[in-house]
Symmetry: none
Subunit: 376 residues, 2 copies
Amino acid sequence: MNLVLPVREAPARARKIAPAADPSGRIIAGDCIEEMRKLPAKSIDLIFADPPYNLQLGGDLFRPEGGRVDAVDDAWDRFDSLAAYDRFTRAWLTEARRVLKDDGAIWVIGSYHNIYKVGAALQDLDYWILNDIVWRKSNPMPNFRGTRFTNAHETLLWCAKSQDAKYTFNYQAMKALNDDLQMRSDWVLPICSGSERLKDGLGHKAHPTQKPESLLYRVLLACTKPGDVVLDPFFGTGTTGAVAKRLGRQWIGIEREPAYRQAAAERIAATLPLDESAMETIPDKRSQPRVAFGLLVENGMVPAGTVLVDAKRRWKAAVRADGSLSCGPHAGSIHKVGAGLNKAPSCNGWTFWHVEKRGRLVPLDALRQEHLAGLA
Amino acid sequence: MNLVLPVREAPARARKIAPAADPSGRIIAGDCIEEMRKLPAKSIDLIFADPPYNLQLGGDLFRPEGGRVDAVDDAWDRFDSLAAYDRFTRAWLTEARRVLKDDGAIWVIGSYHNIYKVGAALQDLDYWILNDIVWRKSNPMPNFRGTRFTNAHETLLWCAKSQDAKYTFNYQAMKALNDDLQMRSDWVLPICSGSERLKDGLGHKAHPTQKPESLLYRVLLACTKPGDVVLDPFFGTGTTGAVAKRLGRQWIGIEREPAYRQAAAERIAATLPLDESAMETIPDKRSQPRVAFGLLVENGMVPAGTVLVDAKRRWKAAVRADGSLSCGPHAGSIHKVGAGLNKAPSCNGWTFWHVEKRGRLVPLDALRQEHLAGLA
DNA sequence: GTGGAAGCTGAATCCCCTT
DNA sequence: AAAGGGGATTCAGCTTCCA
């Protein structure tokens, strides 16, 4: 397979370095359960695992504009039954436990399709859950049919080997990474796209579920020390290896698919250690969070039934349970109804609509600021 | 226990109203497994459950299954507790499944201590997960010892009774509540505090894990219709009942602790339902009556011979006497011709095709709405 | 070169009634 | 019961192309 590497890297130089000779780590070819059996017991400091999710997708899914969704339909994600997935999960988690040092830790990422089975198995195998972490995607795929909530997050489980294990947690590093606030259990990070996303020679994505380096960066920075050995039993295109190398950690990747191994080897060979650019890619989201008007309805600041008026009291509109307004024939969001009444293409409902308080008109925007102040 | 109610309520008046006489719902005293057994099968539209998960304090909860916790040593105790918690979870989820209508749904909230066991049990019992929702707390308790990430979220599981069930989801209402964007699976809501938090006579919180009404508001608005019956088998101080009453839903709460029942009864008695008009939400198009395009041709709204165009005026099509379109080689319904021209598998002809009126393009959908309004 | 419009894409358990 | 067809449905970020 001829791989096109990201622009910032140097393919020619990368190919000259034999992947197996990378001093910081190695890629093992084969099934992770069998290959973990060959590793010495209690030799690994941290395991990061991104196992198949067992998505169980149905037929084709089309976007509203007509395009077809490029679904994950690879053979490696198909299992005969829920019970078969359970057996697979417990088998690899058992081997993972054997190779893990007593004070080591494991991270597993998944979605609602599999993470509950994984979590239950971890607990049954006497792992001790330290946190569940929510990766909130800033740019998830929408729900095209309007049938459910946008599936906008994935879940990571962080476990020690036992309740009393002395696991590694670089608290101050995490706090520093988060503008001197304690790092929370919900992480907002974009999905892997753009130049970071590995492509094959035809411009198709090299792996259907490549994880962003920012995610691994945070995990490895939080839970390992320089020189620690990180094992990824579902290596894929080697995000774990690339970030481990960059951060000066040792790494071992296990992968069955030759094409993924090849992509990972070239990628990691072209990665330079101690490059702090990944640090910069983690967004410091200090901008004000967006507030939906519906939130003020839910939390009782502007209860359903409230009557809103414009600044000149020309229009009145009633707030409904879902945060929409109704005013004669007009119904919809604060912005849409304002635009409809004004016969304008758009309208800022936050400044257009007011609540009457003790004889004075208070714009919705003031209530929004009040709400934001309450959160701070 | 003498409970002090929130400021906005009127204790004296509340006590005069016999709780059992609330027309919108009732509180059942007792263990939820036993009491659910007495409810008729397939009678409940929605279950919201906030089960206990503190294994240390909850030992006697597991008596219905007969297993008594015998703390020989820590390891045995923990194993026995985990297994007992599993049995307890599967027991109440089984009864819940029995009382649920085939097209009903269940929500369960939990933290990493129990939600993985709950999720695995739900899947084993053939519930079908629709989403996992992350309640991202805007003001969580910090991790004082600096040993883990701040545990800043809880998880809710939303499941249908089977894979092919026709569950209720008010997509448009959720979109309205979120400023005209699809509602995502991560919800940012503050924890229950301030005047909303019920206190006992000594100023202590009446219940250790009282949920915010905003959380229930969103769940019930998304997944029920007015008049639906909502069951909460772990009623506590009745947040589910209060919000159900406010939104015009019927409710049933099951609670073992007399003090919680008393607090819930007083709280709900003092809650007023919303005005009917305020309870309205943006309707889903799917629930509106069908209009055949031919009807608009028959009644002269879009006479045969009218030329339709798409929004970008790239295509033109003539309306024929039977309401079909013809456009070059394409002929058929407004949808079929639109799909053919777009080379798409399908197309919504109502929004694709437009009529020119005084230089402006009016989508057929607007004419359909006009027609429907004329009938009303 | 630059700015804007238009197109493409991401771990997705994605419709429902009539014949 | 399977098939056919009406018709409901998308957000953010990056890339490409054209003016």
